[in-house]
């Protein structure tokens, strides 16, 4: 293989580019594209929009939580008499907002952005592959996701409004609420289909399309994270698929999969055959949903690892332990699900089992965090925008993860279950955790996708206030939860005596959330402004080592002008006796001794 110079490659690729792309019309190129990069960007933009939408739902709820029963000025009346008569929110609307916030954030926001967006865009590039293994399947996967999203949005407009039984949709409640729930199930079935197609594609691509020289132990950590994530999606999602079909039958065909005999609903004996089990749903739901939470975090960890290695200018500390830890998380995440069900009447044996597995699965997380943390030691840290978000991820994930421990100990969970402590726990992981990592990813790979950097000034203006306000939203939740304030309360606890002492925090959280919204404006502006005006980035925008930086920016159809070859591990930064402070995977340089990874 000849040496690969970004510049010459760019020229070659540009030629290639004009050849292949001429024939494709607008629709085939940008809408029904089968190019993994276009699909990745489609996923990412759709995901960001849904994140924003989910955030808007939440800001509405936060009004009601801060000022229960008060009319929302100006925009309140826009939501219609059936939702907010006179601008005052009804409980059924609050419940819709809550359920849909959870669903949208998890299934339509973070996962599509982390797996569909970054996974699609980056993984084939990092492998040195021309595309995903099944490009058409890839397109189908995006469109199934898109339809699923549309179904969820439409559900707000059917009689009775959207799903309102929580994102967990526990029956029998979910069997009794209005039509929106049926659309929720249909939407989920589409999203599940999308994820299954996607995960088959990812696994095949990673196993089959690695460039020559790219052995498994040379894969960037991000690819490993996506690999394990894909297995989680593949094996866990069908459980919800099955449960969804059963709930659909319960709702439309009158079966009783989840309803026992003798239900009395609003004073009437329910006309059903009975004989079902409400707990069956919970088992199947959590069999999916626990692995799903790791789907929310593993790609994020992958991004953080890439950004940290790049911005400390040194190899990741403990690459192998990191890889073994994600694998361990992958396997173990299938046997901890019932820690969400400790209070459903579990006996000692099973609760001991699930507590123990839950404690065990926290250990690989500790190892991952420790490795990432110790990677900083001896580095030469550049505080670029992606690095700021990646660094903030570490302590924020730590708070979220550590608060998982008391929840995982069943006896402590008696007090904390279904309180705001749980809400605080997982938001620390998914919001200033996953979301920050995703922001880091956007800033980091933006030059690859567009050929331009995002503004670092605006980036800082985005980061610092967001970091501050995130804690303003989520720390008070832990305090409220410790006091015993339950979650999903329409009035934020105003009715309850035991919530009175911490009620004032509701306003703090709401103002923080709205303040945070204000400081997303720099991000949105930056995102669009930099498309045309950002500083032009070279192909290897961050002096990085992994293969995506061997392709031109933006990479043409087919990615690499000459198929790349891999010579070494993914994080050879600051190799002794090498003149530059990085030695890329695709750099055939033979001057340096083959270093041994720690």
């Amino acid at each position: 293989m000849t040496s690969i110079h970004p510049e010459t490659q760019h020229a070659e690729a540009a030629l290639d580019h004009s050849k292949t792309h001429h024939q494709l019309g607008f629709w085939r190129k940008y809408v029904f594209s089968i190019d993994h990069k276009v699909i990745g960007i489609q996923y990412a933009i759709t995901g960001l929009l849904f994140l924003f939408f989910g955030f808007c739902l939440m800001m509405l709820m936060r009004w009601q939580l801060a000022f229960p029963g008060r009319a929302l000025p100006v925009i309140g009346k826009l939501f219609g008499e059936s939702n907010m008569p006179g601008g005052i929110m009804l409980p059924e609307f609050y419940n819709q907002l809550g359920a849909m916030h959870g669903t949208i954030m998890v299934f339509l926001g973070v996962v599509p952005l982390g797996v569909g967006g970054f996974g699609n865009f980056v993984v084939p590039l990092q492998l040195g592959a021309p595309d995903m293994a099944f490009p058409r399947l890839n397109m189908a996967s995006y469109w199934a996701y898109f339809l699923g999203g549309v179904t969820m949005l439409v559900s707000f407009f059917v009689p009775g409004g959207a799903a309102q039984a929580g994102w967990t949709s526990y029956p029998p409640l979910a069997n009794l609420v209005p039509t929106g729930q049926t659309l929720w199930i249909l939407g989920m079935l589409l999203l599940i289909t999308s994820s299954l197609l996607g995960s088959v594609n990812f696994i095949t691509t990673i196993i089959q399309l690695r460039a020559p020289g790219m052995s498994f132990w040379r894969l960037p950590f991000f690819v490993w994270a996506q690999f394990v994530t894909a297995f989680l999606l593949l094996l866990a999602f069908p459980a919800l698929q099955a449960a969804g079909v059963m709930q659909l039958m319960d709702r439309v065909a009158g079966t009783s999969f989840f309803m026992p005999e003798g239900l009395v609903v609003s004073g009437q004996v329910a006309q059903i055959s009975g004989g079902g089990s409400p707990l069956l749903w919970q088992h199947l739901f959590w069999f999916l949903a626990h692995p799903e939470v790791y789907v929310l975090i593993l790609p994020a960890m992958g991004i953080v690892a890439e950004v940290i290695a790049n911005n400390t200018r040194k190899p990741l500390w403990g690459y192998r332990p990191l890889v073994f830890s994600v694998m361990a998380i992958g396997v173990l995440s299938f046997v901890v699900w019932a820690h969400h069900m400790f209070l459903t009447g579990m006996g000692t044996a099973m609760s001991a089992f699930f507590q123990t597995t839950t404690m065990i699965i926290s250990i690989p997380s500790v190892i991952i965090l420790t490795c990432l943390l110790l990677s900083l030691w001896g580095g030469s840290i550049r505080f670029t925008t992606p690095m700021l978000f990646a660094l903030a991820f570490l302590p924020m994930f730590a708070i979220g993860g550590l608060t998982g421990l008391p929840l995982g100990l069943a006896t402590a969970d008696i007090h904390l279950h279904d309180t705001y402590y749980v809400i605080g726990h997982f938001h620390y992981i998914v919001a200033p955790g996953s979301l920050f990592a995703l922001f880091a990813g956007v800033y980091y790979w933006y030059p690859k996708a567009t050929g331009r950097y995002m503004s670092s000034k605006l980036g800082h203006l985005h980061f610092w206030p967001t970091f501050l306000f995130m804690n303003g939203v989520f720390t008070p939740m832990l305090i409220q939860g410790m006091q015993g304030v339950q979650r999903r309360l329409f009035d934020g606890g105003e009715t309850y005596y035991h919530a009175q002492d911490v009620l004032w925090l509701n306003e703090v959280m709401s103002w923080s959330a709205w303040g945070m919204a204000l400081f997303q404006i720099p991000f949105i502006v930056n995102f669009f402004w930099s498309l045309k005006r950002g500083a032009v980035a070279p192909a290897n925008a961050w002096d990085a080592t992994t293969l995506e930086w061997a392709a031109p920016s933006p990479p043409p159809h087919g990615n690499f002008a000459t198929p790349p070859r891999v010579y070494r591990g993914p994080y050879e930064y600051s190799v002794p006796q090498h003149e530059k402070d990085f030695l890329a995977q695709f750099d055939p340089d033979t001057g340096a001794p083959a270093p041994v990874t720690v």
Binding site: D16, T20, Q208, L234, P238, M246, T255, I272, S273
Partner: protein
């Protein structure tokens, strides 16, 4: 598309498989989990219900036995169709593939007769948990049969063009379709005793 995805047809030396083979097996993994979750539901509901409808007395065992035979036969014709492909014997391939599709059709017709008999006697999914499981599981399985018939039908008629241009690629595709078809058969092999005999 000008660029070519490697290993769509030929096997990758270090993994020993091609993309399609790996892809279909991964897809089947998810199918295993789908039906696994359904069976988990069956077990939980059955154990929690002391008086359980006895399949034999509520469903038609002869019909189901016949259907089992039909599906197993179709699995054999499927695998023979693939063998014919490997031997590059086009007319034999056509014959076996046609039989596979036809047997799938027979299965569906018998299923239809069974369903209408149930409806006729006033048995609906809402009648009891047993009926709910019966209709849901066999319905989902029937959808799989239908999907398999569509795929097989495609390779039998319009898709068979490829036999002449890229025979090995075509054989791989038939093998892939076959793996799905055998899986559908395999699911039935478990559904049959669980629903009808126990």
């Amino acid at each position: 598309m000008s660029e070519v995805i490697p290993y769509t047809v030929e096997t990758r030396p270090d993994t020993g498989v091609n993309n399609v083979k790996l892809g279909i097996w991964l897809f089947l993994s998810s199918e295993v989990m789908l039906f696994g979750s359904l069976f988990a539901g069956y077990i939980l509901l059955r154990v929690g219900n002391p008086q359980w409808g006895h399949g034999q007395s509520e469903l038609s065992v002869p019909m189901a036995t016949l259907n089992t035979a039909v599906l197993i036969t179709s699995s054999v014709t499927m695998v023979l169709a693939w063998a014919a492909c490997m031997e590059r014997n086009f007319s034999r391939f056509r014959l076996f593939m046609a039989s596979t599709v036809a047997l799938g059709g027979v299965f569906m017709v018998i299923k239809y007769i069974e369903y209408s008999a149930k409806f006729h006697h006033g048995f609906f999914p809402s009648t009891s948990t047993f009926m709910a499981i019966y209709f849901t599981f066999t319905g989902l399985h029937a959808l799989h049969v239908l999907a398999g018939m569509v795929v097989n039908g495609y390779f039998w008629l319009p898709g068979a063009k490829m036999f002449h241009s890229e025979p090995q690629r075509f054989a791989n595709r038939v093998e892939t379709a076959g793996l799905f078809w055998h899986f559908v058969d395999l699911v039935w092999i478990f559904l049959f005793p669980v629903l009808y005999l126990l």
